[in-house]
């Protein structure tokens, strides 16, 4: 990670709300200076100025959280259910991006793991979004996304996300999980590094492989229920993945 790239990513995230702040404050002054003053409009722009200021502060908070460690909530999580919720949230975005979603999720057979539900869902959301982004430039073939949750041979669980996107060369796959490495023009390069730290804090592994055909497959594996009950730490790290994801925010769309 170069310092220049890091600075550019942070600058981008801060410049967005700063643009809002400056535009809103300029508008506010103009509305107050008008004759008669447009007080109602000025109040609204002042409120938006404060909100954008808070957005800039949030970026800083999340950046700081990336480097902090806190205890996470540990509970029994059904990966099927967790994935289903994430996909329901993101479905309209996938649809808009003309992504054909296929799930292999068996609702009658929960795939139980121990961990922090919100953190694990952050990871799934991140993988699904990356897959969707990787296919946004694909126009000569269908944009297929496959999400599968399953038990593995050792009694643990796996979640697999396969896309038919642009794919990655071997060097890129090596660097994917480095903090602040990104292949996206607008990404902060935080999502996958945080995702990996979340999965590792759950005693699991997260990796990427090139498909035989076009695209990439991301898999995370988690240990069997009893083994993963301890050492679930990272806390707010999951929050930081929202920094790079916020712009595409599925929740708000």
């Amino acid at each position: 990670m170069s310092l220049g790239a890091l600075t550019a990513s942070i600058a981008h995230e801060i410049n967005q709300p700063l643009a809002g702040i400056i535009t809103n404050a300029s508008t506010c002054l103009r509305m107050l200076a008008a004759d008669p003053p447009n007080v109602r409009g000025a109040l609204e722009t002042a409120r938006r100025t404060i909100r954008d200021g808070n957005r800039a502060a949030d970026v800083i908070t999340r950046l700081r959280a990336l480097f902090s460690k806190k205890a996470a909530v540990t509970e029994t999580v059904d990966l099927n259910e967790a994935a289903r919720e994430v996909l329901a949230l993101g479905f309209s975005d996938l649809l808009r991006n003309r992504v054909f979603l296929r799930t292999e999720i068996d609702h009658d057979h929960p795939v139980l793991v121990t961990g922090d539900r919100v953190q694990l869902q952050q990871v799934i959301l991140n993988l699904v979004r990356n897959a969707s982004d990787a296919m946004s430039g694909v126009n000569d073939r269908p944009r297929h996304l496959l999400v599968r949750a399953e038990r593995d041979d050792e009694g643990g669980a796996r979640l697999i996300v396969t896309d038919s996107g642009v794919g990655l060369d071997p060097q890129a796959i090596e660097r994917l999980f480095d903090a602040f490495y990104t292949t996206k023009k607008d990404g902060m390069g935080i999502g996958l590094s945080v995702s990996r730290s979340i999965i590792e804090s759950h005693g699991g592994k997260l990796w990427a492989e090139a498909n035989h055909g076009p695209g990439t497959t991301f898999t995370f594996s988690l240990p069997p229920l009893a083994d993963s009950a301890t050492g679930c730490r990272t806390g707010d790290a999951a929050e930081t993945s929202k920094i790079s994801d916020r712009r595409e925010a599925m929740r708000s769309s």
Binding site: Q16, A19, I22, T23, N24
Partner: protein, 129 residues
Amino acid sequence: MMEARLLVSVVDDDESVRESLPDLLQEFGFAVETFASAEEFLASGRVADTRCLVLDIAMPGMSGPDLQRELEQRRHKVPIVFITAHADKSDFPRLMEQGAAACLLKPFSDTALREALDAALDGSAPDEG
């Protein structure tokens, strides 16, 4: 005189921009429409009415320069003011060569925006009011 106002379309995936720019542009005397993506703008039916486009460079899906090329291919001439939060001007000369009226780094001042719009509309911009 609402119908006489020139339409400026703002295309930006950032919500702060979509919320804040319309009020300022209305203060400048323009009519404003906002779109969260290039695709949404193209599908909106407001392309032909748009007299000036304030366009974010980096967006998920179709980027600002992609939209510029698409409009070019459709032979739709509309002046474009590019805006970007990337503190990097390296794209600017190329975008200007391809016909952009102005490029602004976010955050930009109201004066800078006003000047960019004046340049884009080449004298046909409204007086403030």
